[in-house]
């Protein structure tokens, strides 16, 4: 066994896992507050990648301006989606709302193809390219910076959820909607807020994912791995998204390196089946979750 190789593969896996975790947190935010399973999270991430491309390459803006603008686009998209597509579905069956998000994903892919074409594109280089070593193990610089960025964003999200008034309102709404309403929390605004925060987060993740692997209209399949992450972790658990993200990232990397690339998906979905058999609500999920 080559321990150095194992360490390098594991580090790369954790790097990818941090991005899964970040996008997973975005997914969980929406599910927790509104009980909507948002299958379009990967496409919103893609939208973020393209928005950044548009600002940085298309409009030629500097990176420090393009990043906040991209996150703003994500936030706006979240507000519009919630207001125009999700709010009217309030009270409909979970399956209907779920299908709306599937449709939303296709629409976003179509829009991006209309605007930017179907070919993969490369984001302008903005991350430093000096190799990074942890001890002797080599770590691709983009993955390392991606990990750092994801960690910072996750920390901000957790702190906001724990300490800000809006975060407390969101957790209260997740705990019991009727009670939240009765103590004076505007539940409609909490719904909007959850979508805005989640889509802004996903757009931010899109920049990092795009910086590492380039962007293409099909990069939304990233959302498929994120779905595995949140099912493994528990749909309504932020902690579950974090642990699940790192776990899935690690397993994909190890399976890819030691079994071959074609085993990546087999390994993750194998794990998914295993966990669903043992813990149907995910590792950290709440037990009353209504299953689709």
């Amino acid at each position: 066994m080559d321990w150095l190789f194992l360490a390098e593969v594991s580090l790369a896996g954790l790097g990818a896992g941090a991005l899964y975790a970040l996008t997973g947190v975005a997914f969980v935010l929406i599910y927790k507050a509104t009980r909507v399973v948002n299958l379009a999270i990967g496409e919103i991430l893609m939208l973020g990648g393209y928005a950044f491309f548009g600002f940085a390459a298309g409009a030629g803006l500097p990176v420090w301006a393009a990043i906040p603008l991209t996150i703003l686009v994500g936030a706006l998209a979240g507000a519009v989606i919630e207001r125009a597509l999700i709010r009217p579905m309030l009270g409909e069956s979970p399956i209907s709302v779920f299908m709306v998000t599937v449709g939303l994903g296709s629409i976003l892919v179509g829009l991006v193809e209309l605007g930017f074409g179907a070919d993969p594109l490369r984001l302008p280089e903005f991350l430093p390219n000096d190799p990074i070593f942890l001890g002797e193990a080599y770590l691709a610089p983009k993955v390392a910076y991606g990990f750092a960025a994801a960690s910072v964003l996750i920390a901000i999200a957790l702190a906001a959820l724990r300490f800000s008034r809006a975060g407390v309102a969101l957790r209260a709404t997740a705990g019991d909607q009727g009670a939240a309403y009765s103590v004076g929390i505007d539940v409609g605004r909490v719904f909007s807020l959850a979508w805005v925060a989640a889509c802004a987060t996903a757009a931010g993740a899109g920049i990092v994912v795009g910086a590492i692997g380039g962007i293409s209209p099909t990069m939304g399949v990233f959302g498929l791995s994120v779905l595995v992450v949140v099912i493994v972790g528990g749909l309504d658990s932020v902690a579950g998204a974090l642990v699940g993200g790192l776990l899935i990232g690690l397993i994909e990397a190890l399976a890819g390196a030691f079994l071959g690339g074609e085993f990546k998906l087999l390994a993750t979905f194998g794990l998914l089946v295993l966990i669903l058999m043992v813990r149907p609500y995910g590792l950290f999920g709440t037990h009353e979750i209504e299953r689709l």
Binding site: A174, D176, G178, I185
Partner: protein, 271 residues
């Protein structure tokens, strides 16, 4: 403008329908400031519908709801909470995954200032004093309801009776003028019911809060209410002081069925 004698809450000609089902038709009554008013009636009489309309969860098809003289019919629950309307739920509605203290603290949400500007202007001593006052109120509530020992316990782990008490504590933390209790002693044993009845009386007397409650436990309703409103099939069939309502033939009919059973009840009472 509210006159001195005007009720704190006035329900006027309230009607509510779900599709073809009329849950409430032309319901009118008032809740006098400082009283305990109970709404009773057989299952399906529309008690909870009435509660949901008064707290803003349902929008009535017709009629008005006035609180402290102002029309609140079109207001949503958060706005009503700010005015001083607090409620509990028939099936306990607590914030799962939080502690007892967190749940109680969320009761003050309605009164928190929002906005960056507010925070800037409001900073400093005035704000700190306000925070201290709130903490004091919370301590008083926790003491009063005798839940010191569970303050840091997660609510979902608590037995039913205590959960009901935490829900009451959260409603009190909203510093309400009108407290609406939806079946406060449902599913409780005799001892728990007596405790709760004592708490409700104390809330009225020590805290000066007006109370409107829906309850099935006749003994308790008759013991502590000042005024009783009886609903049947969405209509008010009787109202008055407990002992008046108890003897009302329409009420006896509604509870026991008219004819044979009601006759038997009267016979039993005569015996």
């Amino acid at each position: 403008m509210a006159e001195a004698s005007a009720p704190l809450l006035a329900v006027e000609g309230l009607s509510l329908a779900f599709g073809g089902v009329r849950a409430l038709s032309d319901v009118s009554f008032g809740v006098a400031e400082g009283s305990i008013t109970a709404v009773i009636g057989p299952n399906g009489a529309g008690k909870t519908s009435l509660f949901n309309a008064v707290s803003g969860f349902y929008r009535p098809g017709a009629g008005r709801i006035r609180f402290a003289g102002e029309d609140i019919t079109g207001e949503r629950p958060p706005a009503r909470a700010k005015r001083g309307l607090a409620r509990t739920f028939q099936n306990i509605a607590l914030f799962r995954g939080m502690t007892v203290l967190d749940n109680i603290k969320l009761g003050r949400h309605a009164h928190l200032k929002t906005g960056v500007l507010d925070a800037l202007v409001y900073w400093g001593r005035a704000r700190r004093e306000e925070m201290e006052l709130r903490a004091e109120v919370e301590e008083r509530i926790i003491d009063f309801l005798e839940i010191q020992h569970i303050r840091h316990a997660p609510v979902s782990a608590l037995p039913y009776g205590l959960q009901k008490r935490v829900e009451l504590a959260r409603a009190l933390a909203m510093r309400p003028r009108l407290l609406m209790l939806d079946e406060p002693v449902a599913g409780m044993n005799r001892e728990e019911t007596e405790d709760m009845a004592r708490f409700i009386l104390d809330v009225k007397e020590e805290w000066g809060v007006t109370i409107l409650m829906v309850e099935h436990d006749m003994g308790m309703v008759m013991d502590i209410s000042d005024h009783v409103v009886v609903l049947n099939f969405g209509q008010v069939i009787a109202r008055g002081q407990p002992h008046e309502v108890q003897r009302d033939p329409a009420v006896i009919g509604a509870y026991l069925g008219s004819g044979d059973l009601a006759q038997r009840a009267r016979n039993a009472e005569a015996a």
